[in-house]
Amino acid sequence: MTARNRELLGLVVASLIAGVALASVTISREAQVSAAAVAWGAMFLGLYLVAHVVARRAVPYADGALLPLTAVLTAFGIAINYRLDPEDGGRQALWVAIGVAVLAATLIWLRHDYRVLESYRYLFGVAAVGLLLLPSVPGLGERVNGVRLWVHVGPLQFQPGELAKICLIVFLAGYLREKREVVAQGRLKDLGPLLAIWGAAMLVIMQTNDLGSALLNFGIFLAMLYVATGRALYVGAGLALFVGGAGLLYTALQHVQDRVTIWLHPWTDERVYCAVNGQLELRQDCASYQLVKSLYSIANGGFGGTGLGEGTFASTDGTPLIPYLRTDFVYSAIAQELGLIGAAALLLVFMLFVVRGMRVALRAQDGFSKLLAAGLTFGFALQTFIIVGGVLRVVPLTGITLPFVSYGGTSIVANFLLVAGLLLVSNRANEPGASFR
């Protein structure tokens, strides 16, 4: 079976999952099976068939598992968003459609040789830093929950951090492919960019208070540096610099201190000062309210979950119990409704995606392609780790999205670009006679 036929089969399975998920939400809501689920499954399949047909023409030899895995993740995302708010579910589906269109367009545009991107590497580098700093531009940025993540242009709003991640990976793949030998020698002069990027990451934290995005981008940087040079010392030194810098910021910035305190001690037995209302409250009723409620949500799922549509996210009068449920805390909604089985299945899909992505990197022929695929895949895994780890109290909670699952257009489109990149690289690597070119 060819890769494309495997892909088609996988997409049919993913569409079945999408249909079943929607059916169980509607059954729970209206206590009846509706034909809408079948129609939805068909629509979902139709949408991905567009991507599939384009892939057949543009990247016929690309990995056949990436697109079905993406489809499964978006099916999860649309189902949980539809369950939390039908209108948001519809909007999420629309964003997936736009994402598929962007994917198709990217595949068609770069089908001959995506490596032209390498020559624009510095443009991507500048774009990455610019996008990261965009939310702190007065008049454009908006502060949500103490963190500057959003940019408003007229009626449009988007999270530039998501796109910055892709730009950064393209820049690093190009830059490190070119400079890997000299960087590996480790002269101070060549370490300049490393220090510059470390400084930029810290600047971003200070400007936007966005610890999560800084951690993500710096992690991607270290991972790609390691792949390019093979020197674990750089990773160690980079981590030490990051920890040292974060430590300095910890003492300097109240916001960072609060995040760490919430992470380490979400529950208190005694009332502590609450910045929200200026009174003494238990921390679980104040600063760590979101995290604690999200943990309760996860715990309430137990082994088998409550079932889609049967979870508890609001009080009996409809007051939401968990803020930012559709974005930052989408994992705790899934974990409650699908239980350990469903949450583990979701994480397994993420793991499979990582394996396939890294396989693309391993099979790629040239340095730029290897670095690009490894960077994209690691970025995908690290982002998942940072947000889900934050929800699970593994690391301090920072607001970034869960790829393909969280509600939000920019994130969806950016991650479809990521998939497009991996498909392009794997197509080139798998082309017959590729190794002789």
């Binding site: 309760y296 996860i298 137990g302 009080s315 009996t316 994480l347 793991m351 490894a374 593994v394």
Partner: protein, 495 residues
């Protein structure tokens, strides 16, 4: 570069692997602990989709807690109503959306929501879930005698205090009343009206279950324990005689009798208890030492939270308290044994504890676990759990218990407790007037047991406490004890 990429893949997989492990942790190991947390609004709200088990009184068999169904957002939710209102509020507690639960609603939550680990409950629950029916909780039958409970609350009136009555042979708690009370139906909406209660004490604290979580100076009721300790020590007999000068000297200070104008002269231990002579007990205490008395008190379950089905933090241990926490002296000389012997000197007790003391004395020294729950019944009527009497321990020897019981009977016959006499029963009782240091705001007590005759074991034990009284235990608390005991005993006569 492939070696690095392979390693990076393992790192990436390990990161996601950590997430799987931690999800497992929160959803399995940590889940039970999180479910029990009082601020867990998710669990609390989720459980409103359960057709929560009903709570019944013993006799007359009435519903203390029932459900009203309401459809919210396409789901059927079950909200609590308490048809008896204030009557059993402290024992049953409340289960509301906005506030954490209390009382049996909290401690028996697993049974009431059918999440107890019992095979038949699990099967019923799974079947309900598969059929799409609301899960039905298990019903709880309490031991509460609703009529006697009503008498107790009426007698307490606006006075602050508590009444605990139990069957000392089985431990079944018939009355557990605390005043001021509250209407649990007002907890969800109308909480302001609960705190606007009229009561003769500040703060009124209507939510506090004074019967098991109120700490009071025991006053002379503690002499029952001192007397038991004296007899157990074999240094004294009921016939041991003392000369009462009307006071006792402790560390050079005079400790007066309640009424110093009429010293009793030469008096034996029996009469000293019946007439509540402080100086005698003061001297007994000095002779025995604080630790010997406290060790006897411990045999009666002092220094432990008395066992009961209500939540642990709604029950407090009795004993010496220092700066708000329980305190056991290292040396005899750390405590003024003379004053402790008649219930002063930092000694604080709960009415539940004192009812247990009276009961154990009444049945020959055996201390049984108080139980407010009779049985737990599945929705289909199958009995899941029946509470059987549990012996905690023999607190004192039968001889000691019977001797102290005889002294207490004299106290009701012709001593300080005559107001508690009930025709046809042999009542033994002990009055108490705990001085709080403020004139006219004494804590008054009456503890008693009732038996058919002097030979048979007690079938009822009671403790009554009142705050802020100017009278004595004999004039204020003993009549309440009589009224409540009569209400319970009349039922056993014509069931």
């Amino acid at each position: 570069m492939n070696r690095q990429i392979a390693r990076l893949m393992y790192v990436a997989l390990a990161l996601v692997g950590v997430l799987v492990v931690m999800t497992t942790y929160w959803q399995t190991w940590a889940a039970a602990g999180l479910a029990d947390r009082q601020d867990n609004a998710i669990k609390r709200v989720a459980e409103f989709s359960v057709d929560r088990g009903l709570v019944f009184s013993w006799q007359p068999r009435k519903r203390l807690a029932r459900n009203v169904e309401r459809a919210v957002g396409g789901k059927t939710l079950f909200f609590r109503r308490y048809p008896q209102g204030i009557l059993a509020a402290h024992v049953v507690g409340y289960s509301t959306v906005g506030r954490s639960r209390t009382g049996l609603e909290r401690s028996l939550n697993d049974y009431l929501t059918a999440s107890n680990a019992n095979l038949s409950t699990l099967v019923d629950k799974a079947l309900d879930e598969l059929r799409g029916k609301p899960v039905e909780g298990n019903n709880v039958v309490t031991n509460i005698d609703l009529d006697a409970q009503e008498v107790a609350l009426e007698e307490l009136g606006t006075r602050c205090g508590a009444v605990v009555a139990l069957d000392p042979r089985t431990g079944k708690v018939r009355v557990m009343a605390s005043s001021p009370g509250f209407d649990p139906n007002l907890v969800e909406e109308g909480f302001d009206r609960i705190s606007q209660v009229t009561a003769d004490c500040t703060p009124g604290a209507p939510l506090l279950n004074r019967a098991s979580a109120g700490l009071f100076v025991p006053g002379s009721t503690f002499k029952v324990i001192t007397a038991a300790a004296a007899l157990e020590s074999r240094k004294f007999t009921p016939e041991s005689t003392f000369v009462d000068p009307g006071y006792c000297t402790v560390y050079g200070k005079r400790v007066n009798n309640f009424d110093t104008s009429r010293p009793f002269g030469t008096i034996d231990l029996s009469s000293a208890l019946a007439y509540s002579v402080n100086s005698v007990f003061c001297n007994v205490g000095l002779k025995l030492g604080a630790k010997q008395i406290l060790d006897t008190a411990k045999r009666f379950e002092f220094y432990e939270r008395p066992p009961l089905e209500t939540p642990a933090d709604e029950r407090l241990p009795s004993g010496l308290y220092q700066r708000g926490s329980l305190y056991y002296p290292r040396l005899d000389s750390d405590v003024d044994a003379g004053r402790m012997a008649f219930g002063q000197e930092r000694m604080l007790v709960t009415p539940l504890q004192m009812a247990m003391v009276a009961g154990a004395i009444g049945v020959g020294g055996k201390l049984v676990e108080p139980q407010v729950v009779d049985r737990i019944v599945a929705p289909g009527g199958r009995v899941i759990r029946v509470e059987r009497p549990v012996l905690i321990r023999r607190a004192v020897s039968a001889d000691t218990a019977n001797a102290v019981a005889a002294m207490m009977r004299i106290g009701v016959e012709r001593g300080t407790g005559t107001a508690a006499q009930i025709p046809g029963y042999s009542i033994g009782g002990k009055t108490g007037t705990g001085e709080t240091g403020v004139p006219g705001s004494n804590t008054t007590w009456f503890i008693a047991f009732a038996s058919r005759d002097e030979e048979s074991p007690a079938e009822l034990a009671i403790a009554v406490v009142l705050q802020n009284q100017s009278g004595t235990g004999g004039s204020t608390a003993a009549p309440i004890a009589r009224a409540v005991m009569q209400a319970i005993l009349s039922r056993t006569e014509n069931p």
